[in-house]
Symmetry: C2
Subunit: 680 residues, 2 copies
Amino acid sequence: MTTDPLVVFTPSGKRGHFPTGTPILTAARQLGVDLDSVCGGRGICSKCQITPGYGEFSKHGVTAKDGALSDWNSVEQRYKDKRGLIDGRRLGCQATVQGDIVIDVPPESQVHRQVVRKAASAREMIMDPAVRPYYVEVAEPDMHTPTGDLERLAQALKDQWGIEEVEAGISVLRRLQPMLRKGKWTATVVLHKGHQDKAHRILGIAPGYFDRPLYGLAIDLGSTTIAAHLTDLRTGEVAASSGIMNPQIRFGEDLMSRVSYSMMNPGGDVEMTTAVRTALNALIGTLKAESGVKPQQIMEAVFVCNPVMHHLLLGIDPVELGQAPFALATSGSLSLHAADIELDTINEAARIFILPCIAGHVGADAAAVALSEAPNEQDELTLVVDVGTNAEILLGNKTQVLACSSPTGPAFEGAQISSGQRAAPGAIERIEIDPVTKEPRFQVIGMGLWSNEPGFEAAIAATGVTGICGSGIIEAVAEMRMAGLLDSKGLIGSPEQTGTPRCILEGRTHSYVIYDGTADGGPLITVTQTDIRAIQLAKSALYAGARLLMDEMGTDTVDRVVLAGAFGAHISPKHAMVLGMIPDVPLDKVTSAGNAAGTGARMALCSVAARTSIEKTVRDITKVETAIEPKFQEHFVNANAIPHATDPFTILRSNTPLPDALFNTQGSDDGGGRRRRRRA
Amino acid sequence: MTTDPLVVFTPSGKRGHFPTGTPILTAARQLGVDLDSVCGGRGICSKCQITPGYGEFSKHGVTAKDGALSDWNSVEQRYKDKRGLIDGRRLGCQATVQGDIVIDVPPESQVHRQVVRKAASAREMIMDPAVRPYYVEVAEPDMHTPTGDLERLAQALKDQWGIEEVEAGISVLRRLQPMLRKGKWTATVVLHKGHQDKAHRILGIAPGYFDRPLYGLAIDLGSTTIAAHLTDLRTGEVAASSGIMNPQIRFGEDLMSRVSYSMMNPGGDVEMTTAVRTALNALIGTLKAESGVKPQQIMEAVFVCNPVMHHLLLGIDPVELGQAPFALATSGSLSLHAADIELDTINEAARIFILPCIAGHVGADAAAVALSEAPNEQDELTLVVDVGTNAEILLGNKTQVLACSSPTGPAFEGAQISSGQRAAPGAIERIEIDPVTKEPRFQVIGMGLWSNEPGFEAAIAATGVTGICGSGIIEAVAEMRMAGLLDSKGLIGSPEQTGTPRCILEGRTHSYVIYDGTADGGPLITVTQTDIRAIQLAKSALYAGARLLMDEMGTDTVDRVVLAGAFGAHISPKHAMVLGMIPDVPLDKVTSAGNAAGTGARMALCSVAARTSIEKTVRDITKVETAIEPKFQEHFVNANAIPHATDPFTILRSNTPLPDALFNTQGSDDGGGRRRRRRA
């Protein structure tokens, strides 16, 4: 029978007997308890803080008496005096076992701490980054056993951290000798080990104990916007987020125009590559200015993007992505150096990780959405649509996941819309039309008031009403449909047919006036027939893609719809459903996942295991190519109607009035459904 | 009982039964016979040529009848018509087994062919390079199984060549898609796999079958000269060799002066790094011009060098190598990219391999000598000295190998000698002094005549006699000793003491006149007392180093001496022995290994196995640091005498007269032995 004291760790519940005098950190390591340490138990880093519990713990069968931990030694006391410790906390590397004790490991002392995401799905993220700092004490050189400084550093990492294999590039080799001497043979080294690497690679070295946090960038490189999150690699917390327009827009609004630009202009791909890399460096500059983080602290960047952006980021001519069979240069994930893509505003040793692409039209951004929303872990059949200039669509559950992309074009983002504009102050973002009076009221971005409420005019004086943003146009079209201003084929009725003078004749078709600011020199904001056609094309492409996946799955219904994408966060589920953008499900089954691609990027940045996981998921996904499926065209034509020509949308109709007037009295279609699809 | 035909391969003797119709290449692969192929059996590359043997082979128990191989098929015939085949040769991939047959694999069809080195030791080299071309047929992209081009190329390499893991950098990714399409889904890829690599890395890709040979550089980067051999990576043959002065000489003649330069001048190390890299690119330019090889064909460079050159090549400040404990930044071998050391005159994807260093003063050049001369494989106790500005010394046999370096300085290379000059036309390289008349005769570089032979004067008219090169000065000093002009302490006698007016008074000491060209406005070439002192210092350092290793080994004698180094090739063993440069062994046991470091570099270039082997050898070598061994100073002082103050040199004295006059009549030493040693 053992007489050694019992140590119980919470919250893990792991327990064991240890000889008197065993440091708590040692006990934790022997039991496999997740207790952090950067300095290797030298009382420097304070990452191993623990909270001892005294008294009766009947649940654990332990009574912890005063004196169950050793008194404060000089190292621990010095740390407390110099840097401070929360009351009740001890340093796990200094406090030793003296009697039975319960030790709580607070979340911030766990290496693999869980980070609860604030997004709706509330999935947890485990910190497991590729880049971590390690403090080491290195043996001094000895003429009698003449090994190099690097070899002695590698031995120290092996002895003190169990790291078997280490490699270093030439820039680290150049700094190694002065750093080790400056730190008097102690140093903090930053190591990187990707999910496929055999060895840890030394990215940096600083003399002594270096406690400035390290950061990574999670970057969602979209056709229209680039969003980046500067993330603390210890905690997973976002220190700063920022976005910037993708300057490639000047070469073409959608992806296919950019591929065409490259085809028509020799060197065009190089221009676009330079443009996006310059923008990335500018964006990183903004993040650094906002957060005060230094370039040297940023050690990794993870990218998600569609295939065309993927190739243009890498400097690969995207020409093959513009024509069948849409071959990617590489579909696997990529591990690169910052210099490979000319990111010169972060640590020069920093690493780049790019998520795998799913197919020639379904990129690393879709892979990131799959990582974030995990349809492969759902019981319910879940449809995930990432709405942007191109829509990424995933459909699946635990049994199978399908993926495709569909060329919605930029209409949903307010582009190609007569009064459309980017989401900015002055833009109409919400709209309601009274079904009786046919009068609209609206809200503009940056203000809580409706346009018919007192004080609205005064409140908008500064910005004016300038246009309609992406979510506004969707609401406008859906409201027009519900108010009987628009028929199921997408035709705007005449003043006579609708009974409102707000339907005005422009050329041979009608427009609906939402706001007339012309008296004060402002704009006349209308929804035109051409706008309706653009929205119809976009939503038909989106719905046809989803329908194609449902065909492949052998189903006519889905259980749940997740709207992802920065824009998806602002779409009203009801209006999206009226438009027939998404399949008919109860409205409470439509949720927004926010920027799911960006979240996926952040997960991959914070976890090597997530990288392994998404590679497997991508391999398992069934890829569906919309461009070669004859049924896509049929689905596209049927989806042109609002909400749909053949699908019943029974659930929607049961609680939403959809007047069934038809305004085309000549009995011919005006051509909206016959326009050729294009690839965004 | 099998009725399948029997195939016997020579020279391996491997044999097996194969079904009628089996291609010879297939049979060879199944038996593990070393038969090359680059195109993978498609009748394109002709690397699998074999010579069928017909008739009675009683040794193998085989009778091969006509028709034992298939008739020429159209592929084989087309190859022969277009490119030609040696009579009796067939393509192993096209000719199939029809009956019992003996197949000879000629050396040039073996992948791992042996290359017999021309050097004295005649060791064999097995071709096993890190860089090899592979021809592949790649599957075309398919929208239904959308993998990237890289992934399909990797699959082809796996299926067609058994290569499990492939990786590619961004520059290859950029070229991949156009190359595969240009070659109609066939390509030749150049792969690199170093001795520690898990994956093959794609260095280059060319459309279709690409048959220009690939080359590597074996570079011996010395303190004074840089020598490079441009080597065919298939055959191991040297296409061109060239040398260049190390331009760092302007920062200091020996290594320690260069380290001092770096210490005294901030940025001095960068200047020296730039200088040596510029010189390397110039040297490579010369090799390409000589051979007609294109930069793109040069895929790897292997370096050997001493530790200071090693650090300066890498851009590491060598300051730590200038003071105890002489710590290297890294002692392990290094695998780098050409850009890491700014080699921009070879393929941009080319790889760099640098051999491991043995210790802070015993570099990768000594490791290369160990690889080339393999003292660890000898039964006899072998002393290998690599004579240059710094001497690398190895002593060992199968049981143990010891290594050290010793600071000989540049005297052996003709520097710091009053009439010394580099080896060039006009330089005296051989000399004899008549022991009776004390008259010299000599030969100059580039001419077979002795100076006392008819026609000499006419023959040297063009160049004149300009000075004495390194091997010349050693012969001169040794001949002076044998002729009684120089006593055992290194003092030149007066005309009275020696009986010759060629001993002339210069200041307070005497010089010996070898050649007086002053009448025609030419030089007066003498050996001065200062010259003798410089040679004494150099040879004492060399001998003391060897003696120290013998002490460590517990022996007073060695069995064999190998003189390595470009200069070692020109030293006369007898004269070296008279000087006491090397321990006393029979003259037929002193051999020259030529540029052993360069040969070691070439072996490492041509064989991945050699790289593994030298890493192990270096780990096993016992390192001896001359700077901290008190006995070194004692050995150094005793070695100052010519040949030696205390070691008897019995074998030498038994066949060589060494007059024992002492010219110092004042009974005091003139200080030669008291001068402080310096580190070269």
